[in-house]
Symmetry: C2
Subunit: 150 residues, 2 copies
DNA sequence: CGCATTTAGTCACTAATTTTGACCGTCACT
DNA sequence: AGTGACGGTCAAAATTAGTGACTAAATGCG
């Protein structure tokens, strides 16, 4: 059997992750753009995906998303311009600034969380609720292990 | 519970895929560079991951990797310069060219396949062989479903 | 306290990557 | 022969990623 064929029939962990990631992103942002968030692109996910309603620090977002803090900086600039977040001084640390979602930003967060939940619910329905729950459980373990041993 | 905390404890499918993809890539290419393939970067994976020993067409690689064919073109240029692949005319279609791995390219392919297998074997050992096999089975279904409904 | 070190964030710059549109030659079908 | 689709490349624009240096504030320590 050809290698390309084998990769198609028995994809490795990297291929599965990559295919899943990019098609999840594609569906998510295409559906978000239908609900009024057409200006936000996947890369803004590094901020919006981890943002707290109470506000988050840029360096926390950098750590969680795995991006450099300079990247977070420009993403926040763009999201400020689009009206999704605001920069506020952090009362606990005068060096830091809190990135706080606006009403629009909170709407985006709520909707994208809901779309993700819905997408996963459809998969669960298709493969079986129990099988999907077990899949998520093991996936989380694998992701943690893999991240650690990098 | 804060949203960022919840995302950490119960990551969604996109977050899990992204974390897994990037740490798999990081480990794979760092180990490859220790075995003499230090010039090859993750993005070349779009070509090398799906390449057949018999040679593959650029447009097949584009379709399988999800990249534009222009991207495949530049990746192939770089891999040719590095001595990993050659362009040969496709006997079956005079428009097309076959991307064929050289000896060096085949070595890369064999080694990266082996490293991936090894990495997965370690996960399987940690979470249980059976659980891991079931995880892979469901992951493949989910990836297929997700790719289809994009 | 006073000094060195670390941390949060930004600025400015450079390199790399992705995306677009047009283009040529070949194929498949009529 | 004529037409539309396909395989691949070129060139340019737009987006994204990576570096080094810098300010201000917090932290640690003698």
């Amino acid at each position: 059997m050809r290698r390309s064929e084998r990769k198609r029939e028995v994809p490795d962990l990297g291929i599965l992750s990559s295919r899943t990631l990019f098609s999840v992103q594609k569906e998510l942002f295409s559906r978000l753009s239908e609900t009024g968030h057409s200006q936000v692109r996947p890369r803004h996910g590094a901020v919006l995906a981890y943002l707290d309603v109470e506000g988050s620090r840029a360096s926390d977002l950098a750590a969680q998303s795995g991006q450099h803090k300079q990247v977070i900086g420009t993403l926040v600039d763009e999201l400020v311009a689009l009206g999704y977040v605001e920069r506020q001084p952090d009362p606990a640390d005068r060096r830091a600034k809190l990135i706080v979602p606006t009403e629009l930003g909170r709407d985006h967060m709520v909707k994208s969380d809901a779309i993700l939940v819905e997408m996963e619910a459809e998969h669960a329905r298709a493969v079986g609720e129990e099988a999907y729950a077990e899949f998520k459980r093991v996936f989380q373990l694998v992701a943690e292990r893999q991240t650690r041993t990098k």
